[in-house]
């Protein structure tokens, strides 16, 4: 197989991964890394490099649409980005230190956890309780309800949210993913922000978080242009198509099927990592 054909096959595969990532809400990164390592036998360092770039592209590409919806909270995002970027510095440094099989093992665990989060039923309790720290940091806003009314909300448990965000940043830097699942947990569960606000603000933050790892990835030689090119273009196109379809498609069944696939890939990554050591 020559290099051009290989690029085309990667492009089509990445498009499918981006599509599924968007439809399931898991993001393209957690999908493409196992596919590259398990199916195409790409070394995990190159795989997470390609994934990190794709994550920046999809996050930035989707931002304009999210702004129009008016759910994202620019202050919450910016404040928490201090935590995620600091975490990403640590995570990106860790990838250059820990052995390959350790990265694969942690990745497998994150896959299992992401599938669990995606399948779990969502419950929402919006709170306006005046949390002192949140109010001082202006971590509040209003949620458009669609019928012209607006629901005010105030963030809770800011230190817990900040800590979880730092962890999300570490995982993003270590694994080249957006860590959307952990980010949403930090905002939705810990800080009690409305779910729509959590997901859209998380999308905004993913690009900035990933950019904080990109410099070290570049310097460490993780960004292989001939590999990144089809992966980034494919995942970007797939996720843009996916987010259009999302408005219409009935995704529950797809989400279940896809989460099962993620679980299988997660187990495979864990087993492979354990066997090789």
């Amino acid at each position: 197989m020559d290099a051009s054909w290989f690029s085309l096959i990667l492009l089509v595969t990445s498009l499918a991964a981006g599509l599924l990532g968007a439809l399931s809400g898991l993001g393209g990164g957690v999908v493409i890394v196992p596919v590259l390592t398990i199916v195409f036998h790409v070394d995990i360092h190159y795989a997470i490099g390609a994934s990190l770039v794709s994550v920046i592209a999809t996050s930035s590409g989707a931002a304009a649409a999210y702004v129009r919806e008016g759910f994202s909270n620019i202050r919450v995002g910016m404040f928490l980005e201090i935590a995620t970027t600091l975490g990403a510095l640590v995570g990106a440094w860790l990838t250059t230190q820990v052995p390959t099989h350790a990265i694969g093992f942690i990745f497998g665990l994150v896959l299992l956890y992401s599938a669990y989060v995606s399948l779990k039923a969502k419950h929402e309790e919006i709170t306006t309780k005046p949390d002192k720290m949140a109010l001082r940091l202006r971590l509040e806003g209003t949620l458009p309800l669609g019928d012209g009314r607006e629901q005010p909300y105030v963030a809770q448990r800011v230190p817990a949210g900040f800590g979880l965000m730092w962890l999300a940043g570490v995982l993003s830097g270590l694994l080249g993913i957006g860590s959307g699942a952990v980010k949403v947990i930090a905002m939705d569960q810990a800080m009690r922000l409305p779910f729509k606000v959590s997901t859209t603000t998380s999308n905004f933050m993913i690009g900035v978080t990933a950019a904080a790892s990109a410099g070290l990835y570049l310097k460490s030689g993780y960004l292989m242009p001939a590999l990144v090119m089809p992966v980034m273009l494919g995942v970007l196109a797939g996720s843009l198509i996916g987010s259009r379809l999302l408005v219409r498609a009935h995704v529950r069944t797809l989400k279940v099927v896809f989460s099962l696939l993620i679980i299988v890939m997660g187990i495979e990554m864990i087993v492979n990592s354990l066997l090789r050591k």
């Binding site: 197989m1 290099a3 994202s72 910016m78 201090i82 900035v208 410099g215 980034m232």
Partner: protein, 123 residues
């Protein structure tokens, strides 16, 4: 959410989309050149051995673009892509400055400094 917050977000959304489209276009051009020129066998990525030194530094990439090297052009697209969220944070600093929100000028400046540090000094 004040009116100005909404405006910052609109700018930011527009800028992010422009940045990502520009990056994708550059990567696509480099990719097309790579695929036309390169008919060698499938590259082997199964062992990690880093990247050629030229493609690991901004200086080397810019030099390669000058010589019309497809891989350097792809890397240039990636640099534009990486710069996009950094520019976004820079715009937020400016936006909060216009709003007169000193706390968030400081918050977004901290994020900007972390990003610039990560790009230029992180070892």
């Amino acid at each position: 959410m004040s009116w100005t917050d909404k405006r910052i977000e609109n700018w930011v959304g527009y800028m992010l989309r422009t940045g990502v489209l520009l990056a994708a276009a550059i990567v696509l051009i480099g990719g097309a050149m790579y695929m036309v020129k390169n008919h060698s066998s499938r590259p082997d990525y199964s062992q990690f051995h880093g990247e050629t030194v030229q493609l690991m530094t901004m200086h080397g990439i810019v030099h390669g673009v000058g010589t019309g090297d497809p891989l350097s052009i792809i890397m240039l697209g990636l640099l534009v892509l990486i710069a996009t969220p950094v520019a976004r944070v820079g715009m937020c600093v400016a936006g909060f400055l216009f709003e007169g929100d000193r706390l968030y000028v400081a918050v977004s400046s901290v994020v900007l400094v972390i990003l610039l540090y990560s790009l230029f000094f992180h070892k």
